[in-house]
Amino acid sequence: MVIIKNLKLEFSNRVIFENINLEIKENKITAIQGPSGIGKTSLFLCINSMIRYEDDYKLSGEILYKKNDNYIDLLKLEENQAQDLRKEIIYVSQHPDLLPMSIYDNLNFFAKTHKLENKNERISKALKQVYLYDEVKDILHKSAFNLSGGQQQRLILARALLLKPKLLLLDEPTASLNESLSQKIEEMLKNQNITISIISHFKSQINNIADFCYFLEE
């Protein structure tokens, strides 16, 4: 679904990575591994075109994304086209970035702006998928900042799943979760029928769910 050819990224003339060639196959889970600081998050930001908002970056190469049987080069997109695509390509960051609203509103805000139907159902479903529903069903109106790190992480995952993306870019989605929860989430991800690319430090996780795995090295 995504074919990356010869990608090179520079920040202020400092090369972050180059000669990146990889493929994210449709409806499969592709894992990306590598040492800390090598640019895995930046790679994901290139795919969802958010790299444009960094200062002083230079990007060269090709990122081909399959849309409706055609491949389009993500690097050559206009800003409003790129923004449209972010409905399909959703990046879930390592550090939970929540809005200053209640737990329910954090999901409802996006459901409303994207004009989703059956909002309440979809929100409950998303929360159940990440095994958060039982924990928060009584405190949905409370501020999302009161949740623990692990709960917040699951919340942003639920937020991404709510919008039914075609490509999900997960940046260490279970870093704050204990083993049993991680396994449940992993099973859930395996059963999703969407393309997933995941950055993870946990070998067991990758062994469990990934169909393909790429190593980035110096």
């Binding site: 969802n48 958010m50 908002y53 409003n80 923004q83 449209d84 695509l85 972010r86 409905k87 959703i90 990046y91 960051s93 970035d97 929540l98 809005l99 200053p100 805000f109 996006f110 702006t113 994207h114 501020s143 900042f145 937020r159 991404a160 919008l163």
Partner: protein, 280 residues
């Protein structure tokens, strides 16, 4: 050594900060013997006429109020529009121009606004309504220009801070800049918007030159925005610049007291609102 120095600084600080209360108490003290019922009734009327021994200041209270109120509405609309465009525009040229204009406006002397408007706006108004020249509407429009920088700096602050914290998150989920602004930023900056308006109110109520030079200083109660009027501030300026009657003096102190108290109350309200923001 350390202690003496810091104690010295403390003394200086305390003196400086309590000067404001000196101002308040002197004016209050000079008003206090006014609060006999007859004199108060005299003061709280709508007619001011030195010959007839009438010293009613309510007209001026109304004048201050109406000019400031109109200026605030117009000023808020202008400020909000300018700050929104600064936020929403994709052109860095427009953004630069507007930002620098707002900053520059903060440094322009009020007397220059008033003086220039005297020869630009007043003829313009009298072209449309020949009977009026110096009027409420001219003063309000120019006063609104004065308070634009006061409000805009606060608005820009909150827009930028919200944007820095939450815009990336929203963009990751395909929310455009416009949607982010109209659906999120505005709702979450209500507190700061009100603070800006209240601060601008203190500025508008306290301004003397624009009303003095542009609103006409008539003593009669105004009946339309094309009429001339006088505010508390311009009344004080005119009386002191001209005559030194004793009862007139006392009326001045009441004007001053009303002005000062309303500004203090506004500052207190602003403080109360400030205390309520937790997350944003």
């Amino acid at each position: 050594m350390n202690n003496i120095f810091s104690k010295g600084l403390l003394i200086i600080t305390v003196i400086s900060s309590f000067l404001v209360f000196c101002i308040f108490f002197i004016i209050f003290y000079l008003c206090v013997d006014l609060f006999s019922f007859d004199e108060l009734k005299n003061l709280l009327s709508f007619t001011w006429s030195v010959q007839d021994n009438k010293y009613g200041i309510l007209t001026f209270l109304f004048g201050s109020f109406i000019v400031s109120f109109l200026a605030l509405i117009l000023g808020f609309v202008f400020s909000f529009s300018i700050c929104s465009i600064i936020f929403l525009t994709n052109s860095s040229l427009i953004k630069f121009f507007l930002e620098k204009t707002v900053l520059m406006m903060a440094t322009i002397p009020t007397v220059i606004y008033a003086f220039s408007a005297l020869f630009v706006f007043v003829p313009f108004i009298s072209y449309f309504k020949p009977s009026s020249t110096l009027s409420i509407i001219v003063a309000s429009v120019v006063l609104s220009l004065l308070i634009i920088p006061t409000m805009s700096l606060i608005f820009l602050n909150i827009f930028n801070s919200l944007s820095n914290k939450y815009m990336k998150c929203c963009m990751n989920l395909s929310i455009s800049k416009e949607e982010f602004f109209f659906k999120f930023v505005i709702k979450n900056s209500i507190t700061q918007l009100s603070q800006g308006v209240l601060l601008a109110t203190t500025r508008a109520l306290g301004d003397t030159m624009i009303v003095l030079m542009l609103a006409g200083n008539a003593l009669a109660f105004p009946t339309s925005i094309f009429d001339s009027t006088r505010s508390l501030t311009s009344h004080i300026a005119l009386i002191f610049a001209n005559d030194f009657e004793s009862m007139a003096f006392k009326a001045i102190f009441l004007c001053a007291f009303l002005l000062l108290s309303s500004n203090f109350i506004l500052i207190l309200i602003i403080r109360k609102i400030k205390g309520k923001t937790y997350e944003v």
